[in-house]
Amino acid sequence: MSIDEKLFTVKSVPDNVSHLNPDENECRCCESKACTFVCPANVYEWDEENQKLIVNYENCLECGACRIACERQSLDWEYPKGTKGVKFKLG
């Protein structure tokens, strides 16, 4: 089962603005790009062509792993607004 299929089982109310805002300049210098593999929801993808981090914030499970793993500590990470984000039925 792919991660996208897994994420399909999670109920979530996406906001129309991202609560995850990486500093693009820092991302270009980042060597590990740890966020692209530590994230349990595969939120981050590195776009090599445009040298830009793609942030699929609507998949975020709000765990905070990316914030701590960010080697340049340059990810502005906030909780989604109160009415938004993930809603675990079981958890």
């Binding site: 897994k6 500590q73 109160g82 958890g91």
Partner: protein, 433 residues
């Protein structure tokens, strides 16, 4: 004196710590507001998991009568997973007295919050506390998306990420060595299949601790809990391991699920919900400042997790209760400064909460430095022993034992073996002294 939007105590976060704290304050007839960012208490929460009976009774004495419980755990299994084989140890106890119950946080936390509301807690949901209001060095309230609320005391029960504790300087940035990323799948299975596969009767549960497998040599553990008609399977692996090994947590879980010892347990199951969360693993050496003028920190926000014993919700509930008792004293004495709130830390120190964390204060250091052997080499070697012991191939047994012993010294640098032994002794000494 401010009277508008002012209450006696504000608790931020509707998990076990926050709810335990709020309900203890409400029971004493004091005014308390519990602010939860989720749609309902539990909607942002994830754990393995099981809640523990005795500590839960300390907060909700009759919870076993009405709380949404799944199964009473009577079997504990420890499985050392090799690449293909495994060695398992099972402890079964049909004792009437429950130690733990499997539950879903989305249901159980919600039930606890409902109970707390019945006892006078004012629950505010769908509200993110963005910052604390500090006046002359003392926390006096919270800023939310919509308005500011003031209180004599603010209790931070805002979970492992506790952005608030960091904002007011009570906590340093968390290191990838001090948290585990946990991913979990709840898999639907017929009740009868669960009973058969895990050797249970109705309402009896089994807890699996999984070592090795896809995480061989990494600092991480897997788990399985049985629910009424589903099974929760997941793992937690320290964040630095993911970074260093460049692996995705859900791929590690997929491999564990495919292990020959695990796959038959969940065969033909249907995924109900995937989830993820961080576990604070740093222990005693990573505690934040637990109090300051006008504020106390409880539960995961204070890193109160005993990772070896998989205890977290119980430390959360008891820390919430101790913070509440301290707050009640402060309200009587009308002094909300550290002078009084330091009693919260004293209560934790006198209880199992900080005593246990202190007992295991060296555990994470040892495990970080030796996980390749303690969670890689030795589990594999134990499986190899049983492979040797159970094989029938016309080779004399004495020869087999000798070859096995020789292999220990051949495939491992003697210096590493000495280091393993030294670290094990150091760990045992630090626990028992």
């Amino acid at each position: 004196m401010r009277t508008e939007n002012k209450t006696e105590v504000i608790v931020v976060g509707g998990g076990p710590a926050g709810i335990a704290c709020a309900v203890t304050i409400a029971r004493a007839g004091r005014e308390v507001i519990l602010i939860e960012r989720g749609n309902f208490a539990g909607s942002k929460n994830v754990f393995g998991g099981a809640i523990y009976a005795q500590p839960t009774r300390e907060i909700f004495p009759d919870f076993e009568k009405t709380a949404p419980l799944e199964r009473k755990n009577i079997i504990h299994k420890y499985a050392l997973l090799g690449e293909e084989d495994s060695t398992e140890v099972t402890y079964r106890n049909n004792d009437e007295n429950a130690v733990s119950y499997s539950v879903f946080r989305g249901k159980f936390d919600r039930w606890m919050a409902d109970e707390a509301e019945k006892e006078g807690v004012i629950l505010v949901t769908e509200t993110v506390v963005e910052d604390l209001i500090v006046d002359d060095g003392q926390v006096v309230g919270v800023k939310t998306e919509l308005e500011d609320y003031y209180a004599n005391i603010v209790v931070l029960a805002d979970g492992v990420n506790s952005l608030l504790a960091r904002k007011v300087g009570l906590r340093e940035n968390i290191s990838p060595y001090d948290v585990a990323v946990s991913v979990k799948e709840v898999i639907k299975l017929d009740k009868d299949k669960i009973n058969d596969r895990f050797h249970l009767n109705d309402d009896e549960g089994c807890v699996y601790q999984l070592f090795g497998g896809s995480m061989l040599g990494m600092l991480g553990l897997g788990f399985i809990y049985t629910n009424k008609d589903s099974v929760s399977i997941g793992l937690g692996v320290t964040l630095n391991e993911l970074v260093e090994n460049k692996v995705k947590p859900y791929e590690l879980l997929d491999k564990i699920k495919a292990h020959p010892s695990i796959a038959p347990l969940i065969k033909d199951g249907e995924l109900l919900e995937y989830s993820a969360h961080l576990i604070p693993e740093g222990g005693y050496n990573c505690l934040p400042e637990l109090f300051a003028d006008g504020v106390m920190i409880v539960g995961d926000a204070a890193m109160l997790v005993n990772n070896l014993h998989w205890e977290g919700t119980n430390l959360a509930m008891m820390s919430g209760k101790y913070a509440a008792e301290t707050a009640l004293q402060a309200l009587v004495e009308e002094d909300y400064t550290s002078e009084i709130l330091c009693r919260y830390q004293q209560r934790l120190e006198q209880s199992f909460v900080l005593k246990d964390l202190k007992t295991y204060k060296d555990l994470m250091d040892v495990m970080h430095s030796r996980c390749a052997s303690f969670l890689g080499y030795f589990p594999q070697k134990i499986n190899e022993f049983f492979k040797m012991f159970t094989s029938v191939d016309s080779v004399p047994k004495k020869e087999k034992y000798r070859n096995f012993l020789k292999s220990v010294f051949k495939d491992r640098n003697p210096l590493e073996l000495i280091k393993d032994g030294g670290n094990l002794l150091k760990l045992l000494w630090s626990i028992l002294k």
